[in-house]
């Protein structure tokens, strides 16, 4: 059936998940049939795709220009059970996909800490999950994607078809074109449960040692750290390793419906702006103490649901409101394995700064993929959330930037909203190659975002 293309547009104040420093743009909702016209109508400040707005900073903002939201078509998901691959429209979320895939015995190849990301965003940020050390990032599993270029031609690319453009798009922050759909491999699962091994560890040395020793034995591995602990407790944390549970691990009741899956939000954050007193050193220290003590010192084979293990924060809708109207930023970097000393220095400085940080995640990455701007690369990655209203934060982070870069590390563009163009240039040595490919497919700089202008990824007019 031929239907008229769907296009609607309105002026909108758009922010990233961190809610810091929003900007206004024309938000254009469009389906694939109307997309070429929407791209032709882009103004001088260009356009950028936006999915569910889960990147923390400004990559899905385009002040003074257009922001395009691709509405998925009705036949948005096609599963090939024989080949173990799925083709999904770029606007489809992992949440939508999991609801369809899990009951059929499939799992997405990579999931971040939230299900509320789109396939387009997953590729543009080349997202990683707890299985990176074994299976790499999202782009590793994509066999083909369709991309609308600045001149509205649609190209099919993959690791074996125009690999340059493919790997410039994987991690390319939407700046090579609009991803229309993608085909990627799935993980077969016997059950919808995760068998979890938990270890509570009293200091950073123990956490790092056990991670290095054990993570090759598990598909999923991540550690939560308490950055308010100091002295001999510095870097204490809880390590959780996981595997998809086999059918014979389920008890009789669960074995009856091994692939049962319910992904939903339990509660919403109230739509009020909390005062500055909600997140402070004391409240977070109390929370961290509780979180640390709540974890068993040692537990094996605990069965958890997919949402409980992978997406605990999704249980609370709009949890980002807790940081108030100044918002927050997430600082995530990776340093090579041999630069453990740099990681330790960063953690010491953060602990000494006594910031109210309760979301701190430490993970070991496996080798990176050929993506020119793909973030993951072999080494330790640390992610922290910090309220944006802390005085002295600018100097602290500038100092951490230097430590990370001197150690041969880099920052994650999907999280960044603070570092400099120079830091990105130093951290991504293949940036010039990426810029050359981008120039080939978008010489006029039609694709632009606040991030691309802030970090000099857009050709200047």
């Amino acid at each position: 059936m031929n239907t008229a293309p769907l296009v609607s547009a309105h002026r909108a104040l758009l922010a990233g998940w961190g809610k810091a420093t929003p900007s206004t743009a024309e938000l254009v909702e469009v389906d694939e049939a109307g997309l070429a016209d929407a791209v032709k109508a882009l103004p001088a400040r260009g356009g950028i795709a936006r999915g569910l707005g889960r990147s923390y900073g400004d990559p899905a903002q385009n002040s003074g220009g257009h922001v395009l939201r691709l509405v998925p078509s009705h036949d948005a998901v096609h599963i090939d059970d024989a080949a173990g691959v799925v083709t999904a429209s770029a606007g489809v979320s992992l949440d939508d996909l999991l609801a369809v895939l899990v009951p059929r015995g499939w799992f997405v190849p990579v999931t971040p800490g939230t299900r509320f990301v789109t396939i387009g965003g997953a590729i543009a940020s080349d997202i990683h999950g707890k299985n990176h050390h074994i299976e790499g990032s999202f782009g590793n599993h994509v066999t083909r994607l369709r991309l609308m270029l600045a001149d509205t031609t649609v190209v099919d690319v993959g690791p074996d078809r125009d690999p340059e453009l493919f790997w410039a798009t994987v991690g390319g922050m939407g700046l090579t074109g609009m991803i229309l759909d993608a085909t990627f491999r799935l993980i077969p699962i016997e059950t919808s449960r995760i068998s979890v091994q938990t270890r509570r560890l009293g200091n950073l040395d123990d956490v790092m040692a056990l991670m290095a020793e054990s993570d090759s034995d598990f598909r999923y591995s991540v550690a939560w750290l308490d950055l308010l602990a100091t002295g001999r407790h510095l870097g204490r944390g809880v390590l959780t390793n996981g595997e998809h549970a086999r059918h014979d691990e389920l008890d009789a009741r669960a074995a009856g419906a091994p692939l049962a899956y319910v992904g939903k939000q339990l509660v919403d954050m109230p739509p009020v702006v909390p005062g500055p007193g909600v997140i402070n050193r004391l409240s977070v220290a109390a929370f961290n103490e509780l979180w640390f003590r709540k974890a068993p010192a040692r537990r094996d084979g605990e069965l958890q649901s997919i949402p409980a293990y992978f997406h605990p924060l999704d249980l609370v809708g709009d949890w980002n409101r807790v940081y108030g109207r100044r918002g927050f930023l997430q600082y995530q970097f990776v340093v090579p394995f041999e630069a453990e000393a740099a990681l330790r220095t960063v953690i010491e400085r953060l602990a000494a700064a006594a910031l109210p940080i309760f979301l701190t995640v430490l993970k070991r990455f496996g080798p990176g993929n050929p993506g020119y701007l793909s973030f993951p690369t072999g080494g330790w990655t640390l992610a922290i959330d910090v309220p944006a209203n802390r005085s002295g934060l600018s100097e602290l982070l500038a100092g951490l930037d230097r430590i990370v870069l001197d150690a041969g590390g880099r920052h994650y563009l999907a999280k960044d909203f603070q570092t400099s163009a120079d830091a990105i240039r130093r951290g991504y040595p293949r940036l010039d190659e990426w810029l050359a490919i981008r120039k080939r497919v978008d010489p006029a700089g039609v694709w632009a975002s606040d991030l691309s202008r802030r970090l000099g990824l857009t050709p200047t007019a």
Binding site: R11, L13, G18, A20, T21, P22, S23, T24, A25, R45, G57, D58, N62, S63, G64, G65, R325, R326, G327, F328, L329, A388, N389, L393, S394, A398, F417, Q418, S420, D422, D450, R453, R454, T460
Partner: protein
Amino acid sequence: MQNALQEPQTIVLLGGTSEIGCAIVDELLSPAAKTLVLACRRAEEAEPGRFARPGLHVSVEQFDAADTASHDTFIRGLAAEHGDIDVAIVAFGVLGSQADFDADPQAAADAIHVNYTGAVTASLALAGQMRRQGHGHIAVLSSVAGERGRAANYVYGSSKAGLDAFAQGLADALVPAGVKVTVIRPGFVHSKMTRGMKSAPFATTPRVVGELAVKGMRAGKHTVWTPGVLRYVFSILRHVPRPVFRRLPLG
């Protein structure tokens, strides 16, 4: 584009020799800052060296607040050369002497032209640019002198009263555009503008004004009193009976 910490990359100071304006710039500068434009009538009096730091380009531009017809072209030219204007400070103004104004009404007209008309056209030009770019923050230097007319400085005070009302309205008008306006209302500030004058109660320094202004801007305040206590002082002074107000030792 400002980063998550609301640190601007490009700052424009209209009134490039204003001590309060420079103090606000001091507070705004961070490792994120790339371009600072000091726009002033007498370019040779600007002190770009004061702001020198690695990675920051400081540019001094000829700008005449009284030449209102040039303002829109001037702002468009800055954006064309330096890109988006993240933060602009409208800091130019003349205090003048009430005695001189009494003797020469045309001098009063000239002062009002700069303090009010020029600030309005410059702010509107900035507002237009920031609407086009979809973000930005304008700081407008008002004064407590605009809160209630006084015998000592009613020409200056009335020009600031007009500017203050204009900027408050502009702030509301720009909300849908995602552009912020903060009105800074300093009390008596020890600076070259007030040199030789008798200090008033709650007098402060450009540095303190700069600190409080930027703190207020980052907190999203529409109006910043410096020092903060003046907000409460003036909420009382506004209602003091005229014969009493006239006799108060306000400097």
